[in-house]
Amino acid sequence: MAGISSDVIRGYNDTMILYILLENPSYGYEISKTIRQMTDQKYLIKETTLYSAFSRMEKNGYIQSFIAQPDANGNGKKRTYYQITELGRQYYEEKCEEWFLTKEVVENFIQKGAEK
């Protein structure tokens, strides 16, 4: 994850998590693994970062947690799953809008490999 400043990306951790939850409920490690795979190993979210995002978003009503017990065959283990709420979907949309705007604004000042 060389090159990514955690200050910059912090504002978008929530967006990434919510995106993953749009389809299915998921749990901590699965979410962090998905983020790593989707970003081609470029971004690795720390456990504490992930948990603080969960905790904050749950308080704000964007996600809900539930405990999944191992199934009758004893497969899987007891895990906390998170699922997105209606409010969370709205928030996700807002964050996407915000990103387009941010990108548009910042892009004006970016010149890759260019010389002055």
């Binding site: 749990y27 901590g28 720390k46 456990e47 504490t48 948990y51 603080s52 283990k77």
Partner: protein, 335 residues
């Protein structure tokens, strides 16, 4: 995996014992465990897996906001501030060696005290022997006093030896997860021994009158000198029984002492909750009960020396123990 568990426990050890904190710990553990399992499944060895998980764990300060612990990480002891809230964040860790030595010293004290108590009980045998065999009374008194003096020496000596660890009781200390685990294991290993020794001790005390009954009921009773020997055997048996009870109880207490160092208000108090301390329901009862055993001892000694009815006065002990048991059962609450 144990390394990871210890790592997480030590990170959380000083955190206050709240629902939010425990939940955070639990969920972080789920994630760490999942990640570890997957790394192992990918063919990493244990060290690599542990290293990766720890390096990617992050920083607990990040959680201070969601856990409502903004002050926990920036807390600086201010010297004058002795509020309880402040106290829980500036605990000193006690090293494993210190904890071990402390427990060993307490166990040793238990041994010395139990021998001392036994000598006190044995001391009354001297006057009886002197009376039986017509030795001089001076010898009886001297023997008795020597035994008591030896006992007092053992009490004082062991008290002073343990005294050097007083700072542990007074200071703000905690033991880490691994130490607590080792101590807990030792305690549970000792538990069987404890039960056996305690039972034998109690049986000896209960059956102490057996020799004197046998002597009275059989031909031995008709020999003059055996008449008093029943009492001698009684004291020997009671002495050994009490010694076993005191020694085993004090050894058990030693483990409890070290395990209860961790405060219940801290997360680290969770892994010692099993040894939850019993408290009297109010301070008055606590004060009265703290004087209980000294009072019983004084009554025992005063009554005994005034009447010299040693063969009767020992009854105080079992009676006192029963009363204490009743009081404890009714007037204490688990913390």
């Amino acid at each position: 995996m144990n390394t990871l568990k210890s790592y997480l426990e030590s990170m959380f050890a000083k955190m206050p014992n709240t629902r939010e904190v425990l939940r955070a710990k639990d969920e972080l553990w789920q994630m760490m465990e999942d990640k570890y399992m997957e790394l192992i499944a990918e063919g990493k060895n244990e060290n690599e897996a542990v290293g990766t998980v720890i390096s990617e764990f992050g920083n607990l300060e990040e959680l201070s906001g969601v856990l409502g612990l903004e002050n926990a990480f920036s807390y600086q002891p201010t010297g004058g501030d002795t509020t309880q809230e402040a106290g829980i964040y500036d605990r000193q860790p006690l090293s494993f060696e210190e904890a071990k030595q402390y427990v060993d010293e307490l166990v040793r004290q238990g041994f010395f005290v139990s021998i001392g108590v036994m000598l006190c009980i044995f001391s009354v045998i001297w006057p009886i022997l002197c009376e039986t065999f017509n030795w001089s009374q001076a010898l009886g008194v001297t023997g008795m006093m020597l035994f008591i003096a030896a006992a007092v020496f053992l009490f004082v000596y062991s008290g002073i030896m343990v005294g050097k660890w007083d700072y542990i009781k007074k200071g703000n200390y905690m033991i880490d997860f691994d130490t607590a685990k080792v101590m807990q294991n030792e305690q549970s290993r000792f538990r069987k021994d404890y039960a056996v020794r305690l039972t034998i001790g109690i049986i000896l005390c209960v059956l102490c009158w057996l020799p004197s009954m046998v002597i009275e009921e059989t031909a031995l009773g008709r020999i003059d000198q055996f008449e008093n020997m029943g009492a001698v055997f009684l004291f020997i048996i009671v002495g050994i029984g009490v010694m076993m009870i005191v020694y085993s109880s004090m050894t058990m207490e030693a483990y409890k002492q070290i395990l209860k160092i961790n405060d219940i208000r801290l997360v680290s108090g969770n892994y010692v909750r099993a040894s939850g301390k019993e408290k009297y329901i109010n301070p008055t009862v606590e004060t009265i009960m703290s004087l209980y055993w000294p009072t019983v001892t004084s009554v025992y000694l005063i009554w005994s020396f005034l009447t010299f009815d040693w063969h009767l006065t020992w009854v105080i002990w079992p009676v006192a123990a029963i009363i204490s048991g009743v009081v404890k059962a009714n007037l204490t609450v688990k913390e």
